[in-house]
Amino acid sequence: MTEQVLILALGATRKRAVVEDAAEVVARGGRVTVLITSAADWRRERFAPGVRVVDLTELEGRRLPLRVERAVLYRAPRLAFRAVGRGRLAGWTKRAGRAYERRIADRVHRRVFLPAYHRLRNDLVPQRLAERVVTETAADLLVVADPASIPLAARIVRQSPALRVGYGLPYLTPAAPS
């Protein structure tokens, strides 16, 4: 049976170990899912082909309030600039569109929308999204890769006490004496 491994790496503080653990699972024919908080923290890392990386920020972005915000703040203005920017105005509207996103949309998103969203949304949203990934993955091996992942791991183990869990692949696999 194919080994299913879930690596919790929500804190992104031990990236090298995570990348190597994930590569080892793939190399030995298993399936591995790495759960991360944000792809931005991992942009310098290269996961081995076959490693499934699930980004909680991206998952949360699919929720309705964030989709509406993106439509209002980014998509609609882009369409408007495109409609206006034909012919000789094309270059000017392209630059204006970029400036709008940089100077207005990004700032409104960061300074106004996100704080309000985080204040109003249920604090359990990221937790529930993470737990959904855990359920979907149906892992038989859980690797806890950093401190930020420990609370989620404890909740998972409360629900599935028989699940094999450890703080790194080398400490889960019975190692032959070197």
Binding site: T13, D21, I150, V157, V165, Y171, P174
Partner: protein
């Protein structure tokens, strides 16, 4: 994997996938000493620093306690030793007393409140390793500590940490430094305990030989962190200068660090980028293999407590160009002419450049095999294992004996 061990080893530093270099000398010590005993158990208390808000930090601690029974699995490591790997999650801090107490508590929680079941406990790094070992050892256990820390001055500058270190010195059976650079600040800080601070060097493997001896000093090698303390900027400048006279020179940087980007940029400016290789961090075995594929180790560090890389290089049949930065002048004592060129620590590349040409000029007169034999007598696995056994199981004042032996230059005389 329960029950008593002959010896327990407690360490915050040990190679992992995240940091494959950290604590390679502890791994070497385990590999050297464990085969001589029925059961050696290593507790690797790996620090997992974080910057989480207090509420989340509390949840981490609570979750950690819940996971102990599920997530901490004894395994095996080098030399047949048992390995218990336990992360120590803690908020990032420079409060060494707080760090040591966290190690103590985490080890205790993993032990289920029971003491470490071994008559001898050997810890690495006074704070936190020694403290965690002392507070979790059996009342009848003899606790020893090997100090390696290059940041000992910072530890001793904090009143609470200093008081804890003094308690450690009072209560343990002996503290060992890997060289005078570590022993001196300890003895200066605690002169009343000078007789309790001895020497025990790190073991080095002399087993693997290179395929062919060095015939010219052209392939330079650096092994270590690409950080200011290692003097890598001056190394690059020296390399560029020497390469202007001999275009066949190459330089390999083995290691990772904050200066990598700057070094690459400077190499472009100096026009020597085509002669440079950056391998990044590699496991210890790979670093040793690379030593056997190069002609010269250049080690321009500003400060080293022992300088393990330098001895490893001689063991690999390499001559070394090294600064007098604390450890190396002790470890290479007696073999300087045979295998090394020592230069002063300077904020510049001139000493390294001059040192390189001097070494190259007298290359035919080096005696690398003789240097290997001499250093093997001091630092080989069997030599260092015997030294550990003497201090662990001798009835007398083993620490004072180790001090004398260390001063004599050979621990197995």
């Amino acid at each position: 994997m329960s029950g008593p061990a002959n010896v327990a080893i407690v360490t915050p530093w040990y190679p992992t996938r995240q940091r494959p270099f950290l604590g390679a000398f502890v791994q070497a010590m385990v590999e050297a000493t464990a085969p001589g005993h029925d059961r050696v158990r290593l507790y690797h208390c790996e620090e997992w620093g974080h910057r989480l808000p207090p509420g989340t930090s509390d949840a981490v601690d609570q979750g950690y306690r819940e996971l102990i029974a599920h997530a901490v699995h004894p395994g095996r490591t080098v030399g047949g030793a048992e390995l218990v790997h336990l992360p120590v999650p803690l908020p990032v801090t420079t409060d060494y007393a707080a760090i040591a107490r966290r190690h103590e508590e985490t080890l205790r929680s993993v032990l289920g409140g029971q003491p470490i079941d071994a008559p001898v406990v050997h810890a690495h790094v006074g704070l936190p390793g020694g403290w965690a070992a002392l507070r979790n050892a059996r009342p009848d256990a003899r606790v020893f500590v090997t100090e390696h820390a290059t940041f000992l001055d910072l530890v001793l500058a904090q009143p609470e940490a200093r008081a804890m270190y003094e308690e450690l010195l009072q209560r343990c059976a002996g503290v060992f430094a890997v060289g005078e650079a570590v022993r001196r600040p300890l003895v200066e800080a605690f002169p009343q305990h000078a007789d309790r601070v001895g020497y025990l060097p790190n073991p080095i493997s002399f087993e693997q030989q290179r395929a062919a001896p060095v015939t010219a000093l052209r392939r330079w090698l650096f092994v270590g962190g690409l950080i200011p303390r290692k003097g890598v900027r001056w190394l690059l400048e020296a390399f560029a200068s020497c390469r202007a006279r001999d275009p066949e020179l190459t330089l390999t940087f083995v290691g990772e660090g904050e200066l990598r980007g700057q070094l690459q940029q400077r190499a472009e400016e100096l026009g020597v980028a085509d002669g440079l290789t950056f391998t990044g961090a590699v496991p210890p075995d790979r670093a040793l293999a690379l030593m056997r594929e190069h002609d010269l180790l250049v080690h321009p560090s500003r400060f080293e407590t022992f300088g393990m890389t330098v001895v490893e290089a001689v063991a690999a049949g390499l001559p070394v160009l090294v600064t007098r930065c604390g450890g190396p002048e002790e470890t290479l004592a007696g073999v300087e002419d045979a295998a090394a060129e020592l230069v002063d620590v300077e904020e510049g590349s001139e000493a390294l450049i001059a040192g390189y040409w001097r070494l190259r000029e007298r290359f035919d007169r080096l005696d690398l095999a003789g240097a290997q034999r001499e250093l093997a007598a001091r630092y080989s696995y069997p030599a260092v294992a015997r030294a550990h056994d003497r201090v662990w199981f001798s009835a007398g004042d083993s620490v004072a004996g180790a001090v004398q032996a260390g001063l004599g230059g050979r621990i197995d005389d």
